[in-house]
């Protein structure tokens, strides 16, 4: 009993201290919201087809206008041919539309309305203002390390990227 009371007390003190030291509730709400949006339901056809050459990127990382552009240009996809049979492409497009950033109310990822308009329909997650901001501590030379190769190689650093986990505690930047 005594130990339990002590434990409760310690937890209470830590909570009180962190409430003063950190903008806690906001920070937590934001990262929880982020995690749940990134973890939108998976879709087997999307994972197989769009996960063959790179991570099947979480649909919540780009707005619907971007996915529409990407799906319309698969024959010339970042210098490679990623063409799909029409029925398969339609299936994937529907999934992306349902879980795109804006479909999930993730406008916050795109900044103010004016910023969003200026970004148009980016083709790259790694080209968005959001991505650059989250990764602004990473030097250009780090992106080019052989074990990384490209910022689009999310899984090189985010160890749970395949299961759409991007928790900052599960990052290891390879040498």
């Amino acid at each position: 009993m005594k130990d339990v009371t002590k434990g409760v007390l310690v937890v209470g003190v830590v909570l009180a201290a962190s409430a003063v030291l950190l903008p806690w509730p906001d920070a937590r709400a934001d990262s929880d919201r982020r995690a749940s949006h990134l973890a939108a339901p998976t879709h087997a056809v999307f994972e197989a087809e769009c996960g063959a050459c790179h991570l099947a990127y979480p649909p919540g990382l780009l707005p619907a206008v971007s996915w529409t552009r990407i799906m319309a240009g698969l024959e010339q996809h970042f210098g490679e041919n990623a063409a799909l049979a029409p029925a398969v492409a339609a299936d994937i497009r529907a999934y992306l539309m349902a879980h795109a950033a804006d479909a999930q109310g993730m406008a916050w990822r795109w900044g103010e309305a004016a910023d969003r308009a200026a970004q148009g329909a980016p083709l790259r997650i790694t080209g968005t203002a959001w991505f650059k901001h989250e990764h602004d501590e990473i030097a250009e030379t780090v992106w080019r390390r052989p074990a990384i190769g490209s910022p689009a190689n999310c899984g090189a650093c985010h160890r749970d990227a395949v299961t759409r986990g991007f928790d900052e505690h599960r990052i290891r930047i390879p040498e």
Binding site: A52, C53, H54, N81, S150, A156
Partner: protein, 130 residues
């Protein structure tokens, strides 16, 4: 060679095989589409296509490596399972998948489609590797 014909002979093969398709069925399906008997296929031509297909950064071996028993890597850093059936039992067990990747990779690397004969030769060569 006409694509519908290739797919038709490949799927006829699949029906014979009942369960999953095999590298042998895929090879023979392409050979039939090219009007060749399996004995007329050229392992050397298959190897040459793989090793010398493309130039500069665009080569079969730049993604699949020189050794089809090894894992390769895409431009975005994702690992590619080995192409040799002896090193990867899932290889050439799905005719539609093989057709899709031949179409993409031949267009990207060679700037044209591969013929049924080339596809059959490549599979024939990969099947000789243990």
């Amino acid at each position: 060679m006409n694509k519908a014909l290739v797919m038709a002979s490949l799927s006829a093969c699949a029906l014979n095989a009942a369960a999953a398709e095999t590298p042998l069925h895929l090879r023979d399906g392409y050979a039939r589409a090219a009007g060749l008997a399996p004995a007329e296929l050229s392992v050397a031509a298959g190897e040459a296509l793989f090793r010398r297909g493309g130039d500069g950064e665009r080569q079969c071996v730049s993604c699949h490596t020189e050794d089809p028993r090894r894992k390769g890597k895409t431009r975005a850093g994702k690992l590619i399972a080995p192409l040799a059936p002896s090193a990867n039992a899932a290889r050439f067990t799905d005719a539609a998948k093989a057709e899709k990747w031949f179409a993409r990779n031949c267009a990207d690397v060679l700037g044209r489609a591969c013929s049924a004969r080339e596809k059959a030769n490549l599979i024939a060569w990969l099947m000789t590797i243990n």
